[in-house]
Amino acid sequence: MSAVRRFIGSPEGVIGALLLLVLAAIALLAPLLFPGDPLRIAGRPLLVPFADPAFPLGTDRLGRNVLAGLVHGARASLLVGIAAALVAVAIGAIIGTLAGFAGGLVDEALMRVVDAFQIVPGFLLALAFVSVAQPTLPVVIFAIALGAWTGPARLARAEVLSIRERDYVASARIIGMHPLEIALREVLPNAIPPVLALSAVIVAGAVLTEAALSFLGLGDPNIVTWGSMIAEGRSVLRSAPYLSIVPGLALVATVIGVYLFGEGLATMLARRDRA
């Protein structure tokens, strides 16, 4: 309960949480708000915003409803952002915990792999991965996670190294628990809070990476995303710049929401540590 109170104590966190709640509500209610495929042609092409009450944000080059695309795009952005962060944190936490716990050669080898992933630009890696597999949503999620798991891995390893010498781990070893069992049952849960604080940054990065991938035409072509809407608007950039500007604003709002929420989380954790 006090965790909630500490979180509410930071205005940034509250604003971020509210922003994300609104976005999540929009994403969840998208099929109700705008039933049917947002990629279907709904009206006259290139209708300007605020002209027709049926299309508050106008229509694009092919006559698709921009607002419907925007609302459905929230689903893709949030889903990819959160799922990619979950995958990245899961991979990172497991590998980091293993490395920290095993030590020696295993640790050395795993950390060189982490180094390898850090010197390859994550975006290039995602590009290569998506081009090898097919651009479906799960592939995009995994491709983004590939470039984001090293941070959580390093953090988890550092946590494990600081925790593993503590008493309860030693006593677990004495009562005969297998090292891996200790790692998963005793150490991992303790390493999770600081990793969580890092997750917000990863979610934000994942949302931006997904947008960039679909902007370059490497997203799932069957779903509408903000990045693909921005790319779509490029061909009429001179006559209808709003087609590219509006989805970008939605992206900015989402990422700001995630950052603010993350700051709230960080403040909360800092206060817990001080208490």
Partner: protein
């Protein structure tokens, strides 16, 4: 200086296994693709018979097993040979070398500008934590850091290239302008203003936030209290004591961000149609040219390693504590 040289040597040697992991990992990732460059080529020429396919595969060495090709690839890497691009029908090394300078201009200027102005504004904000200007800069940088760079590039392009016509919308230089020397450099610079701004503004926000957060930490330390007890000029306390120490983690971050900036330039190059390294990657994807993509990834990893070694050297100059024990021992 001995300290620095030793560090460079050690870093270079420890990078070799990491680079090897990159090469092998990328090789098998691209190997798992369904369809290769020959398939893509056949699609582009409208198909061909089995004999042509076999002949093409043989000429590119694609008929051999994956392991033997990996072995050959590693061998040719040692001779700085990155193989042959099917899509461009040229040696990959030459292709990359031709595109790399454009990306280096873009990345180099964006990095320099964002670092300099980001840390300076970070000092302005961090000089007085909690002050109005700190709040304004903090909120502003948070919002800026949330902006996708490619979208910022589009917005800048709409505003300054399409509407105001101050800068060109795309390309690295005016085509067939016949410009030479300084004129040509100025022309390239004019083409780079918008893409560099788009990339630099995002990272400026990052460095500002890092510097500011670092300074907020340093203000609490004892030696800052000691500096204040000496009655030093506020500017000296802020710059020489607080900012000088807060700079260290920012420099470290500069190295960690090298890979991410290279990735960011891929998208920016696409927005502004700059024939650089990143755009080459996108073209390689489109042409299903796995060896080219492979070469790009290997070269970018090398580039990131080099940047990090340079950053390490700078760090040694900035922090007297690093590597000091080794020198005395």
């Amino acid at each position: 200086m001995n300290r620095a040289l030793r560090l460079v040597g050690r870093r270079a040697i420890s990078s070799i296994p990491v680079l090897l992991i990159v090469v092998v990992g990328t090789f098998f990732l691209l190997e798992s693709a369904s369809g290769d460059a020959v398939d893509a080529y056949l699609v582009s020429i409208g198909g061909g018979d089995a004999a042509l396919v076999a002949q093409l595969r043989q000429s590119y060495g694609l008929d051999q097993s994956a392991l033997s090709r990996l072995w050959l690839y590693l061998g040719s890497l040692l001779r700085f040979d990155l193989g042959w691009s099917v899509g461009f029908n040229r040696p990959i090394a030459g292709l990359i070398l031709e595109r790399l300078p454009n990306t280096l201009y873009l990345m180099g200027s964006a990095t320099a500008l964002s670092f300099v102005f980001g840390t300076l504004l970070g000092i302005v904000a961090g000089a007085k934590p909690g002050s109005l200007r700190d709040r304004v800069l903090s909120i502003g940088s948070l919002a800026l850091y949330a902006v996708p760079s490619f979208w910022l590039g589009l917005v800048l392009s709409i505003t300054f290239a399409v509407q105001l016509r101050w800068f060109p919308t795309s390309g690295i230089e005016t085509i067939a302008s016949g410009k030479e020397g300084l004129d040509r450099a100025l022309d390239i610079a004019r083409h780079l203003v918008l893409p560099v701004s788009a990339l630099a503004l995002i990272y400026l926000a990052l460095f500002l936030r890092l510097m500011r957060a670092g300074m907020a930490e340093i203000w609490r330390l004892d030696f800052v209290r000691a500096a204040r007890a000496k009655g030093l000029a506020p500017s000296r306390i802020v710059l020489r004591h607080v900012a000088r120490n807060a700079l260290l983690p920012v420099v470290t971050m500069l190295g960690l961000q090298a890979a991410s900036m290279l990735g960011g330039s891929v998208v920016i190059e696409s927005v502004f149609a700059i024939p650089g390294f990143g755009r080459l990657a996108q073209e390689a994807v489109g042409l299903r040219d796995a060896p080219l993509l492979m070469g790009i990834i290997v070269v970018s990893a090398l580039l990131v390693i080099c940047v990090n070694i340079v950053i390490d050297l700078i760090y040694v100059l900035l922090d007297p504590r690093v590597g000091a024990s080794e020198v005395s021992s």
